[in-house]
Amino acid sequence: MEQITIFVNGQRHELLIKPWATLLDVLREDLGLTGTKEGCGVGECGACTVIMEGRIVNACLILAAEAREKEIITIEGMAKGEELHPIQQAFVDIGGLQCGFCTPGMVLSTKALLDKNQNPTDEEIRKGLEGNFCRCTGYTKIIESVREAAERMKG
């Protein structure tokens, strides 16, 4: 077992982990943050997307030990209490979700995109969400939600 400290959604956690545990294992099993999902387990589907030090990563590909002393944002860190983040609110209002399994990852990829680029073109939105599979929506309403979120966050 190995001891690490990580900061998740602004909270400090000291944890004893198995050396082979992934960040996804630690978030879901040790911290009970099940909003981060496991789809493919090989870094392809994006359901486990979290933000680490401002960058989106697939939590299934990151060893928990690599996250030592790092700042991590998961979907649970997006809303302030009951008040949704404008990105979340845009997904609700436009209907940019169906089954919801990809949604946490989509919301976090959107955040990482809009934090860097307040005026993304449709092409840049598509590119920004490229690492997140959605099998339900055909992406149309997700792209529309991101566009709407960008508008609202500017204003």
Binding site: K37, V42, F91, R126, G138
Partner: protein, 772 residues
Amino acid sequence: MEEYSVIGKRVPRIDAREKVMGEAKYAADYGLPGMLWCKVLRAPYPHARIVNIDTNRAMRLPGVKAVVTGADFGGWTWGFMATTRDEPPLAVDKVRYLYEAVAAVAAVDEETAEEACELIKVEYEQLPGIFDPEEAMKQGAPVIHDYRPNNVSVEYHWNFGDVEKAFADSYIVREDRFETGKVVTGFLEPPASLAYYDPSGQITVWAAKQSPYFHYRHLAACFRLPLSKIRIVQPFIGGGFGGTKNDSVAGDFCVVMLSKKTGKPVKYVYTMEEVLTTCRRRHNMIIYNKMGMTKDGILTAVESRVIGNGGGYTAIGPLTMYLTGSGTTLPYRLPNYKYDAWRVFTNNPVSAAMRGHGFTHTRFACDVQMDMLGEELGIDPVEIRMRNAIDNPAPGTEYRTVNGIGIKTCGLKEAITAAVADPLWADREKTPKQEGFVSHGVGLSGTTYQGGARQLGHQSCGAIIRICEDGTVNFLTGATDCGQGSDTVLSMIAAEELGVRYEDIAIKRVDTAYTPVDPGSYGSRVTLLAGQATQLAARDAKRQLLEAGAKTWNCAPDDMEIKNGFAYLKADPEKRMSFEKLAKIACYEGAGAVIIGRGHSSYGLETIDFNRGTGNGGTSYSFTAQTVRLGVDMETGKVDVTDFTIAHDAGVPLHPVSVESQNEGGAVQGLSQAVYEGFIMENGVTYNRTLLDYKMPRSTDVPDIKVIDIITNDPDGPFGAKEASEGSIVSTPPAVISALHAATGVWFKKLPVTPEDIVKGLKEAGKWGVKD
């Protein structure tokens, strides 16, 4: 059309907040104190006899609590029909596809369970395998199931009219071989279940099921318990699309058996690799299609010989082969039709239902072949469809197909007209045909799908509306929202019928201990049938409320109405009270009352006959016309699909956001099956078994999509609704093939059409790399 308060509005999905917050719990997110983890051991051969299984070493591994093998299930098997129950939870005497489950372990954690699986020693005697369905039908082929010595798991031979005479009298006849691909449904949430077998004899499971009541029946039968002792609690479901999550998988049975053995809760979560190699897939079908027409392009006859690659077990195959044949008589007038179908056992993973079940195969073949005949006759794709399309029947009348399908509303002609009026088609000659090596094309399809599907056995949906004394509403349905949006639509229906606000409805997810039994989420049936049940339950509750209100106001219940959260006198709308007050009166006045409304669906009671091919498979039918614009690189064969326009007749769109989203999602799934997606297989081995290698469309791969609603207001659907979930997965492949033909001049008849296929087709046509 009537002005509604809730129906037709773009309300937010009822589950949107939980989902965007990450608070929606899926099966894998559940845990219980003392919980064990289950892992399944799988066979390394596609066809082999099991000689011996030795679990001793696995049992001795510290942390292992129990091991189960096929023998633990006492010979129990399951399947769609009483005569086809050929699949055991764990293989007993032999394995019939690669990675079929043979044993399972419960241990303190997942890694220990996995390690224990490696310690189980299974002795196999390899058997010759058979992987091609046409080879498997030949005499002398290895036999996969003794009860089907010819390897044919399902066989139908239907004959309507006189195809021989019709072909003889036709001006033109063509025969083609079409083939549809080997594809996965593609949900992102792998199957998972947490099970607890209470030693007093009750089972509780939290399982990822889009039709939990199938699983409920499977568990009762498997564990020989009454249904009343089986409790399935339905979590949020991360996508379904038919097949796997409408059925049970090995892990589902193993966790219950392991819980029974250990007295502890047990959970499994499949890996995506297990999904891609062992879960249900769409049937890969070979379709020999013969079609005749008059000189004017009027359809005279169709004869389809269909061979379905069934895989190792029958599963829902009898329904698949029924639907594959049944839909051919729609959406064009067809007086003569013959269908011969064989679903054939092979040593491949099991084929089953998927979105667009059955229809997608033969509609692809027929729609493309119709275009081919049109081309030969010099009739354009719009005209050939308009000449044959079924007319919208006058209200109160019905169009009957030659195999007895009844159509009360048909928006196909209107949909084609709308789709080709859209600039994507109308201005297709104005956009450049050729840019460098890229050749552009625009294609068209006109297809159909059934809604309100019936199978065999239990068909009816139920609903319970409980009025709370503060005027809010608890709503119980047996229907499952696996992402399609049915919880939202059903809540809208409840609100509209009761006359309350949408936000006052609280819908509860399925818990078989409390919710009414329901067939499940398949065949685009939920909005129609659970929707009707909801309507009736709401009316029942409303009647009780109005009776109480009428007493207070000294009038008849019929003199009153409820709308937008207020009850009022029809004759004097100024005289009104809030719904909350009405609820309080109903609950508190006199001896008091408990207001519970109930209803169950009754649409579509006609029976269907699998062996003769007659009857209505659904309560109503949707119609779709779709156009596609794409570009083909004439040198590399790479396809870039840029635009879709989908004109879809869903009767009346009850929740337009969901109708659009379902059309968009279905179309992208269909696009993928047309040009991107497919298992690469050889001798029963799936080579692309992770999502790295099995490519599904990303945000950068999909076109811009426009959806046009065609309103036909069907009499057999709540508020005039028909299906909206599956039409576009049927319409997309033929539209893409039509566009590929427009771009290249080549007809492609096998899905998916890969860049290699395109280059090969172009070379054969002498067009490879040609720039006009």
